[in-house]
């Protein structure tokens, strides 16, 4: 492995100063489950690793009925899986965490890392997109809030700038019902071939808000806007099938070892129809 220096700051401002001073040559390490493999494979070769695990400012799960949820970027997948707050109010996020990797990996892999790594198959991204999450990014110069939908740029590429750290993820107060479906050939320990997160706000027979999010079937996790559009208004039986078809059309999957593009498109249609039916019942 390429050799690098290593510093463990104890405050956020110290960490931001280090990143700002080592512009572009420093890399943040949180859980490290993705980064360490990238370092070994030569895909990343920083001169300095800034270990952010001691930053209290990036920890904790907070909830209020008025403002919703805040999740510190260092929150582990294990903590999200087991959080009573998340289970009660944002169950799809806990469900997604519970299906990722193994318990050993979930004990140190973080939600912030899952997003900042920018993988199209990041399983925390799909439910967070369905929940209209935003990211709080901080740098030595200041801070900004980015809707998660604008954060992903391409495989491994995000809007996170050199010198910036993801501090926390905020999610609006709970609204409607949501579901997360992960399609993998094995029961556990697999990367999504396709994953789907759907949220519907229903009032009687009327759908007030629809979110249909697809993972692992495009260069980034995506919202299927046309499918969402057709779901608005009264829910009629044929709308589910039409929305599922539109979602499949919105996907742009590739052929790889996990599945062909042809198969993935068909699974998008199947899973979106299944997810919608489960919410409408």
């Amino acid at each position: 492995m390429h050799s690098f220096d290593h510093i463990t700051p104890t405050t956020l401002s110290e960490a931001l100063e280090l990143l700002g001073r080592n512009n572009g040559t420093a890399k943040v390490i949180a859980g490290g489950t993705d980064l360490i493999l990238q370092l070994r494979n030569g895909l990343q070769s920083p001169d300095l690793l800034v270990n952010i695990k001691r930053l209290e400012e990036l920890r904790g799960i907070r909830y209020s009925e008025d403002s919703g949820l805040e999740i510190g970027a260092l929150t582990t997948l294990r903590e999200i899986h087991r959080s009573e707050i998340v289970l009660r109010h944002y169950r799809c996020l806990s469900d997604a965490a519970s299906r990722m990797a193994s318990e050993q990996i979930r004990a140190f892999a973080t939600i912030g890392g899952n997003l900042c790594n920018g993988s199209p198959s990041a399983d925390q991204a799909a439910p967070l997109l369905a929940l209209d999450a935003s990211l709080h990014l901080v740098s030595r110069e200041g801070s900004r809030i980015v809707p998660l939908e604008n954060f992903f740029i391409g495989p491994g590429l995000t809007d996170l700038k050199a010198g910036e750290i993801l501090q926390m993820i905020s999610v609006p107060k709970p609204s409607g019902k949501a579901v997360f479906i992960k399609h993998i050939p094995r029961a556990f320990m697999d990367i999504s071939v396709v994953c789907v997160a759907i949220r519907l706000v229903l009032e009687g027979n009327q759908c007030l808000t629809a979110r249909v999010v697809l993972g692992a079937v495009a260069p980034t996790p995506i919202r299927a806007h046309e499918a969402e559009g057709i779901l608005a208004g009264s829910i009629e039986p044929d709308k589910i099938a039409r929305a599922a078809k539109l979602a499949a059309e919105a996907s742009k999957p590739i052929d790889d070892a996990k599945g062909s593009a042809w198969y993935r498109k068909r699974m998008v249609e199947t899973l979106v129809a299944r997810g919608l039916a489960s919410l409408v019942e």
Binding site: M1, H2, S3, F4, D5, H6, T8, I29, G32, T33, I36, L37, L39, R40, L49, N51, K53, R78, A101, S102, E103, Q104, I105, A107, F108, A187, F188, M189
Partner: protein
């Protein structure tokens, strides 16, 4: 540049002077001679390198030792007490849950962590937890039976 790192490993304080790119797995095996923690895939898939870090089971191949300065580490060498195997280790032997034995240290560490989270798991919970450990000999049946065989009250007092 090398860094000074202090670890508590199986109750002993270890002061190390190491390069920051080195994994905890590498340091345990090559600097501390604790070769019970095994290197399988070195990518976080097989679980042979599972250890406890501050009370949680983790894959030591994906941890940089420098990141865990000040942590409490338990390896499989720290599980037996006074020369006597832990009840889980005895059960694995008794039920034939070990064959070649390569995956066994990782299974022991992950199953102990499961029993700490959930002292009376049902079969599906044992299987879900052990999905983080690959075994190519047993087909898992005997491993799962061994974990389920423990009499929780008495056997786990020593976890």
């Amino acid at each position: 540049m090398k860094k000074s790192v202090l670890l508590n490993v199986n109750g002993d304080l270890q002061e190390l002077f190491i390069e920051p790119h080195r994994s905890l797995l590498d340091v345990l095996r090559n600097d501390l001679g604790l070769t019970g923690t095994h290197r399988g895939c070195d990518t976080g898939n097989c679980g042979a390198c599972t250890i406890h870090v501050d009370g949680l089971a983790m894959n030591s191949c994906l941890l940089l030792a420098a990141d865990y300065d000040g942590s409490q580490i338990i390896t499989v060498e720290g599980v037996a007490s006074n020369g006597e195997l832990h009840a889980l280790q005895k059960a694995l032997v008794e039920y034939g849950g070990i064959q070649c034995g390569f995956c066994t240290p990782g299974i022991v560490m992950n199953a102990l962590a499961l029993l700490k989270d959930n002292p009376a798991p049902i079969e599906s919970e044992v299987r879900a937890r052990l999905s983080g450990n690959l075994c190519r000999c047993t087909g898992y049946v005997k491993i799962v039976e061994a974990v389920l065989s423990l009499n929780r009250e008495s056997d786990l007092a020593q976890v």
